[in-house]
């Protein structure tokens, strides 16, 4: 954290605080207030996008822990979300209360993630990416064919989640639920990153050999990264399944894994804030595109038939352009913007 003018730390505890100084605290509080007011102001469509953003934030932050912080490329994250969705769904269908089922689904996903993380102990870089790709396809096959638990291609139909007698059956209530979970997960991830374990992750990412030499147990920490990351992915999946009230294998394909990786890249690898930006950006992108094509079809009739193809193409284009021109992602742009604000009238 770069020091500001007039900000002096007198203890390590102060320096490690999540929000430094009054302005940051005020800004965060303002953000929370705005978010809490949202359901009263926005219409149902915009609210549903916000809910999807909340869920995507959890997913993207979890992948950024694994890929951005610990340097383990995973192409199987979409399937991990799927494991969470199916586990949470199957548990609540058995009568387990939602408040228990969600963390339990996270734990089941963590176990799955650790299982598929074992190859990471022997494999690096591209080999690991291919191994997790295999995990993705194998898990997808299990979703589709383990009829007894997953309902096969028909899927699972779920009730809206309920906690202590309160049923989250409207989008407003669901928004607060997802927002709450997202906040808890964000705090969890930020806390992890300023702890000893988080620094061990970063050490492994930067150079595994020196990490091992300074005493980081690669075996334990890589597995831990997989476990924590898949736990959060499982929670995101569980939320998503319950929000849609329907779990089928289709959404949890390779495309989802890729879009989560893209969120991390576009937002900024290795930064929690970046993952949040990336999640917001990539969830809004298709919606903006839909709107643009609707407007465009007034001028060019038939433009909307290209919607599916255009979404895919624009996604690819954005990803490629970001990688070539801004590999550090939106998070760097935000930093530059903040610096610009600070210096505003006199740029130097």
């Amino acid at each position: 954290m770069q020091g500001k003018c007039g900000l002096f730390f007198e203890s390590y505890r102060e320096e490690a605080a999540l929000l430094v100084g009054g302005f940051q605290k005020a800004r965060f509080a303002a953000l929370l207030v705005v978010l809490c007011v949202c359901p009263f102001v926005l219409n149902a469509y915009h609210l549903s996008i916000l809910i999807l953003i909340n869920i995507a934030v959890v997913g993207a932050v979890s992948l950024n822990l694994l890929t951005g912080m610990c340097g383990q490329i995973s192409l199987g994250h979409g399937a991990f979300l799927g494991v969470g969705a199916y586990a949470c769904g199957a548990l609540t269908l058995q009568g387990v209360p939602f408040l228990v089922a969600l963390p339990a689904a996270g734990c089941i996903t963590a176990a799955t993630g650790m299982l598929f993380g074992i190859p990471s102990l022997r494999l690096k870089g591209i080999y690991l990416a291919i191994a997790t790709l295999a995990a993705q396809l194998i898990l997808q096959y299990i979703f589709l064919h383990w009829d007894a638990v997953t309902g096969g291609s028909i899927g699972l139909a779920l009730d809206p989640p309920s906690i202590a007698g309160m049923t989250f059956d409207t989008d407003e209530k669901m928004f607060y639920l997802t927002l709450g979970v997202a906040m808890v997960m964000l705090v969890m991830a930020s806390n992890l990153m300023r702890s000893r374990h988080g620094r061990a992750f970063v050490a492994i990412r930067d150079f595994y050999l020196s990490a091992e030499i300074v005493g980081v147990n690669l075996f334990a920490y890589k597995l831990m990264a997989f476990a924590v990351s898949s736990f959060m992915a499982g929670v995101a999946g569980g939320l998503w399944g319950h929000y849609l009230q329907f779990v089928t294998p289709e959404p949890f394909g390779l495309g989802l894994s890729i879009s989560y990786l893209a969120m991390c890249i576009i937002g900024g690898l290795g930064s929690i804030q970046g993952a949040v930006f990336g999640a917001i950006f990539l969830t809004l992108l298709p919606e903006v595109l839909t709107w643009l094509l609707e407007v465009g079809s007034a001028v060019f009739p038939g433009a909307s038939q290209y919607l599916v193809a255009a979404k895919e193409g624009v996604f690819g284009l954005v990803l490629v352009l970001f990688l070539i021109f801004e590999p550090e992602g939106l998070q760097r742009r935000w930093r530059l913007f903040k610096a610009w604000c600070k210096l505003f009238p006199f740029a130097y």
Binding site: T67, I73, P119, L121, R122, L123, K124, G125, I126, Y127, A129, I130, A131, L133, A134, A135, L137, I138, Y141, L144, H145, Y208, L218, L254, I258, L261, A262, I265, L269, Y306, V308, A309, A310, K311, E312, G313, V314, F315, G316, L317, V318, L319, V320, L323, I324, P327
Partner: protein, 295 residues
């Protein structure tokens, strides 16, 4: 028994196409250390280009086939220059993601121009089957196998004896040393993308003649990974062998799973289960260069 023989023969044909696509993948990986996730999309674009020349422009098949190859050369050059050149020296994840982004772009272009329906090539080869060991085999299958074998032979000779081939191998071995011997590294990179695009489009045309083409053809690119990992990521011989082994294996496993266990669609995962096992046991495959390193 005939059932399994039929499966093996189907597997050989599919495997020879995997081998072709894997060849393109390995050429790129060997020369530039780029793992190309857009290999399947190169296959698809080649197949659609040839389709539109033969069907929509009514050109004779052979002519449009040659024009497709020319188109692929241009495509390969453009991709290398516009997308991959700026990524030299970037971390692995960026390079992987850039090829994934590329595959999205190619997929969406194909969908915009040709839609998502399945398209069928006109009949080029005769219909009557030949009999191989008492099993009927369509001529197009034999042509596919022979064409793949031919391409492999050509490329083996090319890499072994031609100046350019030797230059490519030198670049793969040590870029610095190659550059100091007067080899243009950038042109080698461009050439390897050209070769990859050309062999992929040949694979696409063959596939189009067998099954017809649709916008899902790009999924083929994923099957390349088991093949190249089995053979070793940087070995041409490995790509050929890996492709054929994976093709046969997945067809036989699929048939056996259907007959013995009643499981459908096992084809999709069989290759990947094999992949995980290989990665755990012998990560550098049959012929890959071993990097001795404790992880």
């Amino acid at each position: 028994m005939e059932y399994y023989l039929q499966l093996v023969i189907n597997g050989l044909v599919v495997g020879s196409i995997y081998a072709l696509v894997a060849l393109g993948f390995v050429v790129i990986y060997k020369a530039t250390k780029v793992v190309n996730f857009a290999q399947g999309e190169l296959v698809m674009v080649g197949a659609y280009a040839c389709f539109s020349l033969t069907v929509e422009m009514q050109l004779p098949f052979l002519l449009s086939f040659l024009m497709t190859l020319g188109f692929s050369v241009v495509l390969g050059l453009a991709i290398e220059r516009l997308v991959l050149r700026p990524m030299i020296g970037e971390p692995i994840i960026s390079v992987v993601m850039v090829t994934i982004g590329l595959s999205s772009i190619l997929k969406s272009l194909v969908q915009m121009f040709w839609g998502t329906q399945i398209q069928v090539y006109p009949q080029v080869l005769p219909q009557e089957p030949y009999f191989v060991m008492g099993v009927p085999v369509a001529p197009v299958y034999i042509a596919a196998f022979v064409l793949s074998a031919l391409l492999f032979a050509i490329f083996s000779v090319f890499f072994k004896y031609s100046r350019l081939g030797v230059a490519m191998r030198a670049t793969a071995l040590d870029q610095c040393a190659a550059a100091s011997m007067g080899i243009g590294i950038k042109s080698i990179f461009a050439l390897s993308w050209c070769i990859a695009a050309v062999v992929s489009s040949v694979g696409g045309v063959i596939l189009g003649n067998i099954n017809g083409i649709n916008a899902q053809l790009g999924h083929l690119g994923l099957k390349v990974f088991p093949a190249v990992i089995l053979g070793g990521l940087d070995s041409l011989l490995g790509a050929a062998l890996g492709g054929i082994v994976i093709g046969v294996l997945e067809n036989v496993c699929d048939g056996a799973a259907k007959q013995l266990l009643g499981l459908g669609g096992f084809k999709e995962v069989a290759a990947f289960i094999v992949l995980v096992i290989i990665l755990m046991v012998k990560p550098y495959g049959f012929f890959g260069t071993k990097q001795i390193e404790r992880v």
